[in-house]
Amino acid sequence: MNMTKKMRVYIVIALVSMFALPGLGLAAGDALVSVGWLAGNLQKKDLVILDVGAFTHYEKNHIPGAVKAFGPWQTMNDGFVGFMMPKTEDLVQMLRDYGVNNESFVVVYDEGVTVKDTAKSARALWTLHALGHDKVAILDGGYAAWERENKPAATVMTVPMAGNFTADFKADKVATLAEVKSKVGSGKALFLDTRIPEEHFGHEKVSHIKRFGHLPGAKLWPDKYMTNAGVDFAPSYFKDIYELKDMAAGVGIPADKNAEIITYSNHGKSAAVGYFVLHDILGYTNVKIYDGSLLEYAPLKDLAMDTNGWGFMSR
């Protein structure tokens, strides 16, 4: 019965998309491409495939034509906070080296085994968004999905032609410490914690994060709830849009698609999975990542953190 209902929904979507007008820009969902789509479009003009997984993985096996693109996507900033977005000019150079042009449609992928892998792709996608490049998508399920569908693998390193990529930096994609300070606990923006519940609750933490707990009033939606990684050995496929919609409501994300949402995690990488789901799958328009995340926030003792409770229970 479930299947029939699901199929009916797909048919409705198929009909709706047939009549969708061109020129509407990226509709929700377009930023996630399937193995089938990618395999059928490997020769597509302007396609650039970036393998953002570990380079050792790339050297063993990668998607034909994919560029070794392990970064750095995050570096230490001037304030000696690690895992921040690198300087724009460095990123521009890196992306040109990867062969990215302004016209490129970039598909990023990762190992695709766990949500930690997916987070690498999500972080790269968000970085491109922040540089003003919206023509970017994630390969659903990453290399694990590619392999599972018996698609061809390449071992020879792709040497791309230098690209002409230029950046148009979008400051509204990045929440800075100053902005977080002014908005936390104010009700002006919704903070979303994408870490594991134990870290959110303050029962556990990773050792280099200085304090336990979460930003006051933050909602909790762990990134690992957003994909099917590991369910019956599945690659890290995103859950379907209906499940994600239900969860968004269930964790307390407002229905208003223009609501301001700031995602954060320990290093701002897992936070990118939250960004992707909200912005690119569910169509929220005003989502940003707190780039410094808890690595920057937790050592600042005068900034509040709540422990021994769920952020969604506080008023």
Partner: protein, 224 residues
């Protein structure tokens, strides 16, 4: 009854229960045994904080002789006010007054994970998530599974949305009613909630009854 007598428990006994004291699955064994004795009407029962692990950490004497107890004269006087059955749970789901407390993992509560022998995903409507795991210090700097301090426990109750009124009717549950035993013990015996029951059948029973509602993909909220 027979088991209690064989163990040498008398009507007049003060029973101290301990477990391995290492992990949360140890602490829940001890706490559930406390609940069982209390439900059988034997109120003179205590729990050794941190169990055997803390005992040995503090260099106390241990031996390996298995004692042979003299049979006791234990008499059960079942106290049903501490135990909930399915019928009662059914009624409580609909009364919107009973606060259900889910002791399982957040993943099981949220409905993205479940135990293989539990039929369906999700939590009982009107539940809040209070994982039993969060109630002890097990594993922190290799600490034994001692129960967190009163101050921390009170803070946790506020933080998970427990009602401030300690006479609110509460039903704790988990998968098989072992982890719920720890939540029961903390609420009833440490924090002084006066109207707490453990749902004996828990999700093993509840989820198999198809018309019983379950909430999936959401964090539970307090009933009030």
């Amino acid at each position: 009854m027979d088991l209690m007598r064989e163990l040498g428990i008398n009507k007049s006994s003060h029973v101290v229960i301990y477990d391995h004291g290492n992990a949360i699955s140890d602490a829940t064994k001890g706490a559930t045994a406390v609940w069982i004795l209390e439900t059988m009407g034997h109120k003179n029962v205590s729990y050794l904080d941190g169990g055997f692990t803390k005992w040995t950490f503090e260099g106390k004497v241990i031996d390996n002789v298995v004692p042979v107890p003299t049979p006791g004269d234990f008499e059960p006087k079942l106290d049903e006010s501490l135990r909930a059955h399915l019928e009662e749970v059914k009624a409580a789901v609909n009364d919107h007054k009973t606060q259900f407390v889910d002791s399982r993992t957040p993943e099981q509560h949220f409905g993205v994970d479940k135990r293989g022998d539990v039929e369906r995903y999700g939590h009982i409507p009107g539940s809040i998530s209070l994982p039993a795991n969060y109630l002890t210090n097990a594993g922190v700097n290799r600490a034994p599974a001692t129960i967190k301090s009163m101050e921390e426990l009170e803070q946790i109750m506020k933080g998970v949305g427990m009602p401030a009124d300690k006479s609110t009717p509460i039903i704790v549950y988990c998968n098989s009613c072992q982890f719920a035993g720890l939540n029961f013990f903390v609420l009833h015996d440490i924090l002084g909630y006066t109207n707490v029951k453990a749902y004996d059948g828990s999700m093993l029973e509840y989820a198999a009854v198809e018309d019983m509602p379950l909430v999936k993909f959401a964090w539970g909220r307090p009933v009030k």
